[in-house]
């Protein structure tokens, strides 16, 4: 590599660093202020303190919100991954008339503006008397998260040797046995990644949950409640913890999605 390339590479590094700072500065700021004893976020900083963390720890409303979030997140992760797997496997395995329409519809939900989605969900769920409960959030989030799971699992299936499934049939495995002993083991990293990512999406989702949750608010909806009442540094503390949780799930998913074959080379 010549000098020129080194200069270009150096500038690209700077560029990436600036982008990352732009994205993460607000989150870092929120984290810093969550440990600051002052009531308002201003410089110079006050004393170092866990006060706001203690306050949220002692607040039963926060715990209720977290409980709802965790219940919804875990359930949605399982439902969305099962549905996503089914969608991805259907695409991998079968060719049928209207397949492109099927794929477009299956992958559509994330492209719908969340306010519209929330309103539509509310209208629909109240019709069938399911609005305002934890179930309603699970249903709405299940719809929104399945395409993510499907996309992740589809990607993994596309890396599979197309002869692998037929080879398993040829060796005496019927379709169900092959699904269990070949397709699922092969896609296992993607299945776990899908579980983590859909959980993270559900944790962070606010707008639709706001429409359909009623009294069973999830944590993001609770945070908005706090904000409307008063600006409290407690939000910084909750935000920091939520961020930590989400980023952990995403990092786990990314680790699982590294291509093990490429890794070895």
């Amino acid at each position: 590599m010549g000098n020129e390339n080194r200069i270009i590479n150096g500038w690209l590094m700077v560029h990436i660093a600036l982008c990352l700072i732009f994205i993460f500065a607000p989150i870092a700021g929120s984290f810093v202020f969550s440990l600051n004893s002052d009531r308002f976020p201003s410089l110079p900083l006050g004393e170092f303190s866990f006060k706001w963390y203690r306050l949220i720890y002692e607040d039963p409303l926060v715990w209720a919100g977290l409980f709802n979030t965790v219940v919804v997140g875990l359930t949605v992760a399982v439902i969305a991954t099962v549905l996503g797997f089914g969608g991805a496997y259907t695409d991998f395995r079968y060719n049928f008339f209207g397949k492109s329409i099927y794929l477009a519809l299956a992958l559509l939900p994330p492209t719908i503006p969340v306010v519209i989605m929330g309103l539509a969900m509310l209208a629909f769920l109240s019709r069938i008397h399911l609005s305002g409960s934890t179930i309603s959030v699970i249903i709405a989030h299940g719809v929104m998260c399945s395409p993510f799971a499907m996309a992740i699992i589809r990607l993994r299936l596309s890396q599979m040797d197309p002869d692998l499934e037929a080879a398993a049939w040829n060796l005496g495995g019927n379709e169900w046995a092959t699904l269990r002993h070949v397709i699922i083991p092969f896609t296992k990293p993607a299945i776990f990644a899908a579980l983590f990512i859909t959980m993270a999406v559900s944790f962070d989702e606010f707008a639709v949950a706001w429409f359909v949750s009623g009294l069973n608010e999830t944590l993001p909806v609770k945070i908005l409640g706090f904000l409307q009442g008063q600006v409290s540094p407690r939000i910084n503390a909750i935000g920091s913890l939520s961020f930590l949780l989400s980023i952990t799930l995403i990092v786990l998913a990314q680790l699982l999605l590294r291509n093990p074959e490429a890794e070895k080379k």
Partner: protein, 362 residues
């Protein structure tokens, strides 16, 4: 061939939409036979193999396996294991787990599975890799795993779909020997699909040559080489000079015919019921052609040397006649050393009548 055939294709046709992949396949495979199905890509050889494996269902006609009609029977209900071109080993299983797979699918208990897998790992000389991942093996080792995995149920028939095409040349020759010996030791039927003439002819007892879904010829390698049935097979083999001719008259040595470049005599045995005016196609193999200097007394076709190709101990000389027909002559380097030749020089090409073979299907 002994007793009843293990496989019988009875007028089997396979269509994909409007495309006919296999047209009236009608042949038998004997027990313990090594049969190669050969042809260029898209000729229907792999489809034929997949129908036998139960991965495709024939559009019409019947397939019998060990005397039983198997149309519509799923591949997992047949014991017709296949060795795939891509090998299709399971990357998430160890070598031993790969080999055990079909036993596991058939509900064989764990201890017995391990024991039977070990036996085949041993036979394939890959026992030391039993607990490795597939990614850690070389091409030749993977090949052995694929064979062990397919043979672990001790089937009566093994299907192989271009299994050696991914290997480099010297490994290919070694694996050919492994396969050949294995087939003889086990005494089971091998059906081997390939586009390579050298693979097919060096291993198989009989060869099926296919093109565009049709079976062009079935026979032993020597039969096919000496007596191709039609122009396609003759051209596919690559070493024959093909002449179109018209039968002129019967003489003492056989039939006198007139072809594009002159006259020739065909032995009577090659033309049992010919009559004057019949159109025939005959071939003379390149190694049976003679070359002589232009000033020699030899009767033959005058042709210009266009170039030559080095083929191991021999050379293939390409010549062109005045009318533009290409002729091929294969000779040892010693024979050629006595002959003055370079590109552009004229030589006389000739052959003796007994080396003419008439293509019966043309």
């Amino acid at each position: 061939m002994t007793s009843s055939p293990i496989v019988k294709f009875d007028n089997v046709v396979k269509k994909f939409g409007d495309f006919t992949a296999v047209e009236k396949a009608d042949f038998e495979i004997g027990r313990g036979e090594f049969l190669a199905i050969m042809g260029s890509s898209g000729c229907g050889k792999t489809t034929t193999l997949r129908m036998l494996a139960g991965l495709e269902d024939p559009t019409s006609g019947n397939i019998y396996l060990d005397g039983e009609r198997v149309n519509g029977r799923a591949t997992w209900d047949r014991d017709t294991p296949m060795v795939w071109q891509s090998l299709a080993l399971f990357p998430f299983l160890t070598v031993q787990e790969n080999v055990e797979f079909s036993l596991k699918m058939r509900g064989v208990a764990k201890a017995e599975r391990a024991e039977r897998a070990r036996k085949w790992l041993d036979k394939m000389q890959i026992t030391e890799f039993a607990n490795r991942n597939i990614a850690q093996l070389s091409g030749g080792q993977r090949q052995r795993v694929a064979l062990a995995r397919a043979l672990v149920t001790e089937p009566k028939i093994l299907l192989l779909d271009e299994p050696l095409s991914a290997l480099d040349a010297h490994l290919k020759v070694r694996m050919q020997a492994v396969l050949s010996n294995l087939q003889k030791d086990l005494g089971i039927t091998f059906v081997y699909v390939t586009h390579s003439m050298s693979e097919a002819f060096s291993m198989a007892d009989r060869v099926v040559i296919m093109s565009r879904g049709r079976i062009e010829q079935i026979g032993t390698p020597v039969e096919i080489y000496r007596e191709p049935r039609n122009r396609f097979v003759a051209e596919f083999l690559g070493s024959a000079n093909i002449f179109e001719a018209t039968v002129e008259e019967e003489i003492a040595e056989g039939w006198k015919v007139i072809h594009e470049e002159g006259r020739a005599i065909i032995p009577a045995s090659e033309l049992p019921d010919a009559k004057t005016g019949d159109k025939i196609t005959f071939i003379v193999s390149a190694e049976n052609m003679q070359l002589s200097a232009p000033d020699s007394e030899q009767d033959g076709i005058e042709a210009t040397v266009a170039g030559d190709e080095f083929v191991g101990g021999t050379a293939m000389i390409f010549l062109e006649t005045a009318s533009g027909k290409e002729l091929k002559v294969q000779k040892s380097h010693e024979e050629l050393s006595t002959l003055k030749r370079k590109a552009g020089s004229k030589l006389i090409v000739s052959w003796s009548a007994e080396h003419c073979h008439v293509l019966p299907d043309e």
